[in-house]
């Protein structure tokens, strides 16, 4: 029963991972056979300004986007966990962007972000004159200005929180009802209930989701950066690690070098998983009810 899964794991994950590990210590360009390079690729990475920018971009993205994404999903889950008219529709709407294929999602945003014709800037120009906003400022140039482009990619990621939202919705609905009734009898305010009950009880799930999101952010920055900004605007404003690896490997045919960068990415992931594991151990006692 497990065989297809095991074959898939072996052929699609383990073998490529091993090949990548080996390739990271070689020079390989598809034309000539790989030649041993030792740690050259890694020392080159340390000195590579583009790699450093990509690493920084990825870390900054994770630091800004991940907390925002989890908070947004938490807000939606707390807003929509009760049964009420329209809640079902609202939940579907919250989930829908996550279900759009990534490339289509990227192309959609390319249109939304268009500085002249895009709906976002048209909305920002409402009430203003001569193509300015109501406050008399120039609307953002989104994909051509480095800061706006980074913000744009983060904005794009904020609408694909469907999975996180669903997990948090389930987690909130699993919390015991009488604990909240207890709080009502004790006249706890909404803020007290959130701060003293909901947040601590959901903390383990929130922490797990944040770590998971941080790992996944290494990957889900790829399509927007590839489709929408192509790593630009200069200087490499939205070149993230995933795009850096892709370009190094498949555009510049420096497979050994790309493999070394991939290895760095994997080490980052490993660190995140270790944090995750520690969190699970630490919070396990909460569930000894």
């Amino acid at each position: 029963m497990l065989t297809p899964y095991l074959v898939g794991l072996l052929v699609l994950v383990l073998l490529p991972a091993l090949v990548t590990l080996g390739m990271a210590f070689t020079d390989y360009d598809l034309l000539r056979p790989p030649s041993w390079a030792g740690l050259d690729n890694f020392t080159a990475l340390v000195d590579d300004p583009i790699f450093r920018v990509a690493l920084l971009n990825s870390v900054v993205f994770a630091l800004v986007a991940v907390p925002l994404r989890v908070l947004l999903a938490l807000g939606l889950a707390l807003l929509l966990h009760r049964r009420a008219p329209g809640v079902g529709t609202a939940r579907t709407v919250a989930l829908l962007p996550t279900a759009v294929p990534e490339i289509a999602y990227g192309l959609l945003w390319l249109w939304l972000f268009n500085p002249l014709y895009g709906p976002i800037n048209q909305l920002l120009r409402v009430g203003g004159e001569h193509g300015l906003t109501a406050l008399g400022r120039t609307p953002p140039q989104w994909l051509t200005d480095p800061t706006s482009a980074r913000a744009g990619i983060i904005l794009m990621s904020l609408f694909t929180v469907g999975e996180t939202f669903v997990v948090l919705l389930a987690a909130r609905r699993a919390l015991p009802r009488d604990v909240y009734e207890m709080a009502a009898v004790e006249d706890a305010t909404g803020w007290d209930v959130f701060r003293r009950i909901t947040l601590p009880l959901m903390a383990p799930v929130l922490a797990l989701l944040a770590v998971r999101d941080a790992v996944a952010s290494l990957h889900f920055t790829f399509v927007p950066a590839f489709v929408v900004t192509d790593g630009g605007p200069p200087p490499y404003a939205t070149t993230y690690l995933s795009l850096f690896v892709y370009q190094t490997g498949f555009e510049y045919l420096r497979y050994g070098y790309a493999a070394a960068a991939t290895l760095v990415m994997m080490l980052l992931t490993l660190a995140a998983v270790l944090v995750q594991w520690r969190l699970i151990r630490r919070y396990r006692r909460f569930y000894q009810l």
């Binding site: 604990v179 709080a183 000894q288």
Partner: protein, 343 residues
Amino acid sequence: MSGLVLDGVSAAYRDTTVLHEVRLTVSRGELLVVLGPSGAGKSTVLRVVAGLEPVTAGRVHIAGRDVTEARPGRRNVSMVFQSYALFPHLTVVENIAFGLEVRDTPRGEARQRARAAAETVGCAGLLDRRPGQLSGGERQRVALARALVREPDVFLLDEPLSNLDLALRAEMRAELRALHDRIGATMVHVTHDQTEALVLADRIAVLRDGRVEQVGTPDEIWRTPASTFVARFVGSPAMNLLPADGPLRPGGEAPTLPDEPLEIGFRPEAVILDAAEGTPATVDRVEVIGEDAYAYLTLSAGQPVVARVPAVRRPERGATVRLDVRWADTHLFHVASGRRCDP
């Protein structure tokens, strides 16, 4: 001055009415036990008092205040839930102090009072543990301490002993009664356990299908049940009920019976077996519980009767016995309404 008044309170869950014009008065310092089978609306009574469930008709007064429209936090009640509803992420002392801290009592004072409340119920040694590390009985005490700490007008206890094992339940029952006598608080205690009700209560309100069937002291409930329902619900095994003109004629001085269909009821302990003159019956089975034995009999006319006899004098299974009851030990009920008849 009454601690709690329910004045014709009705409540509904979706389209089903679960309480029908319930009238109850609990005096200040009284312990009222609401007793009834599951689904009778016992918990709903508590939830209506706490404000967790809205009323569809009637008024709720607590300590002379009309709180019908007030939100739960404004009613000055405290509640012990069946599940205890302890916060798993807080320590015992934090759990007890919760109600004070969300009401902006300074932290130091809240902890001080939490400690005092914990001492009152005997869980002062657990203050730094979390609920996950406590036994059922210990959690029970913490939940009680949390209810005590705020000195509310009314304590609401929703089957607080039902999750404990038998020995612990008996122990906590006695402690709960002692606690009530010590602090003199107004308490409403919900249970389906008749023993608990008889032992704990100043007065018992028997609830059936959302209606109050009878309110009275444990003695009144036991000695003068107002209906066949109360008669059979309180007492184990249940009271025997037979047609008054039926196969069994009680001995002794008969009262003058009104001319309408009646039932006579008598408890298993009122049955006299091996009477010289009595109604013949066969023994179907005998249950021995220590010193007592319960004989399950069938009268020759087919009605079942249970009798309690000393275990040493129990009849054999399959034997024929003659049984008798005294009029003084019987209760009369109208067949049509099921209500008590006192001729």
